[in-house]
Symmetry: C2
Subunit: 335 residues, 2 copies
Amino acid sequence: MAQLRKDPITSRWIIVNTENPKRPDEFQVEPHTQSTKVCPFCPGNEAMTPPEILVHGRRSGAKNTSSWLVRVVPNKFPALRIEESTEKAGIGIYEKVGGFGAHEVIIENPDHNKQLADLPLDHVELVFKAFRDRCLDLRKDPRFKYILIFKNYGSSAGASLEHPHSQLIGLPIVPSRVLGEIRGSTSYHEASDRCIYCDIISQERSEKKLTVFENDEFVSLCPFASRFPFENCILPKNHQSSFDAVEDRSLHALAQALKATLVKIKKVLKDPAFNFMIHTIPMYSKEFETYHWHVEIIPQLTRVAGFELGTGFYVNPTPPEMAAEALRCVTIPGL
Amino acid sequence: MAQLRKDPITSRWIIVNTENPKRPDEFQVEPHTQSTKVCPFCPGNEAMTPPEILVHGRRSGAKNTSSWLVRVVPNKFPALRIEESTEKAGIGIYEKVGGFGAHEVIIENPDHNKQLADLPLDHVELVFKAFRDRCLDLRKDPRFKYILIFKNYGSSAGASLEHPHSQLIGLPIVPSRVLGEIRGSTSYHEASDRCIYCDIISQERSEKKLTVFENDEFVSLCPFASRFPFENCILPKNHQSSFDAVEDRSLHALAQALKATLVKIKKVLKDPAFNFMIHTIPMYSKEFETYHWHVEIIPQLTRVAGFELGTGFYVNPTPPEMAAEALRCVTIPGL
């Protein structure tokens, strides 16, 4: 028996296979390849990237030298550029805007072979600090309407370089996915005067079926209407609309929730390719009470095909409560 | 220089690389593999599928025997089932519906190795006739709110069987992608009293930059804000909201437009994996004047990664006018 489920925020439907659910060991995971090319993100090769924007952990030495723990540089092949215009123009029925934007790379650690899941908590915390500090800096430029931080790990998740890194794209337009979440959460707030994300957390507090990990400040869960198998969402337990507003004292708990979730995914699914992205409130938005920032983590285990492209419906072969249970059961010493 | 472009129907934005556009021969196309398993769709193996629903071209012989040209059968591993309930239920904040629906396979021709692009026009016409006739039949069941016809060709487009086939999924819910198109075209119609798709065709009639192929009744073009490189859209030139309403006398021109487009894509991009889907007006919708049915064709040349998943923005490495020109230039004898 299959089941159709509706995401309470975006109203997006999924078909979940509850009859013959696909178990973790039934997914085929692509092996990670090792490139033989010189890595531009490894220490000693700093001259291969554009000059650094931000560094954490450099104890000594000049700029762009090799002693660092986290390093942020402009993307050498940017999708958008800060020098481009934001000019809008119409061509009959169509609209276009100049290619203004920012595209940065956050090199997460000097070791080519250490992924986020392998790093000490203090280091993961430094990575999140770099994410937040870049957002706070770019926020000063009023041309940015949205900043997305995301990670592609593994070639089937779109990564073109192996060295552990995340990316930041600053946009002159608020993206439609985020607008869809704001539309849904605002209409819920208008009806109930409550935040829908807070209500999801509160319902989960009694049901405990979707929870993967939690600490005092954050909860990691598999959403009820997950589009993809083993999809995950990390939310601050107390209402907070903007990722930029995360205080230093909360970065450790956030790093712990992310690391725990990634370690569990790596273990249960045999190190799959994955994407994560941070969804935060757009600049100049007033929906502070309705929007709730979060991290979405999507292991790349299935292919998007004609049905998904045509409908926006997703077919999820693994019920989220089964995925959550498999992930929850993994215990991690020291976390 | 990059450019941001907005789709006039869905308001979805894309980033198009106009500075270093990716040319057709720069895409890596996955080779198609040949399975050694017995094919359930080949003539003689009719007993390997559930009993047929519709057949075109059987000259003699009983049901489920091997003399046919197009054969429609229920999917053996359906995402949804006609026996399931349409019952709705709430779980606190969440909503679910029983797994009611239809999932059929249209086996396009008996020859395992002949794709749509290789078939004579009369045969492609028969395939479209089967598509339309299945829609007309399912329309009688009031539980269906939408019927999607789509095709996955090649494993990177999600095809699990090689034998040329398309699929049909009947849904108890109108999908969000279609709702988005209806929302956009309705608001355009309210403002202008015109169909936005008709206006796109009309603007293209004078500009001729995006056209790939046309005949008296249909036009095939690369949309101005294509999400994917070499994405294509086939539209009836005269306003028509429902694919079901295509008359027998128009099926030949439709088959010609689809075949011409597929042959051009196969030639220019070296036989890539692709998806196509038919977008038509939902059952019981009253937006006859605003909605315009069409076929979307998406060659699978790029990977959807964290940025696309996070924003709904797409990065298209090939400007649609360049893709259209490359496809337009291919001449096909006899078409």
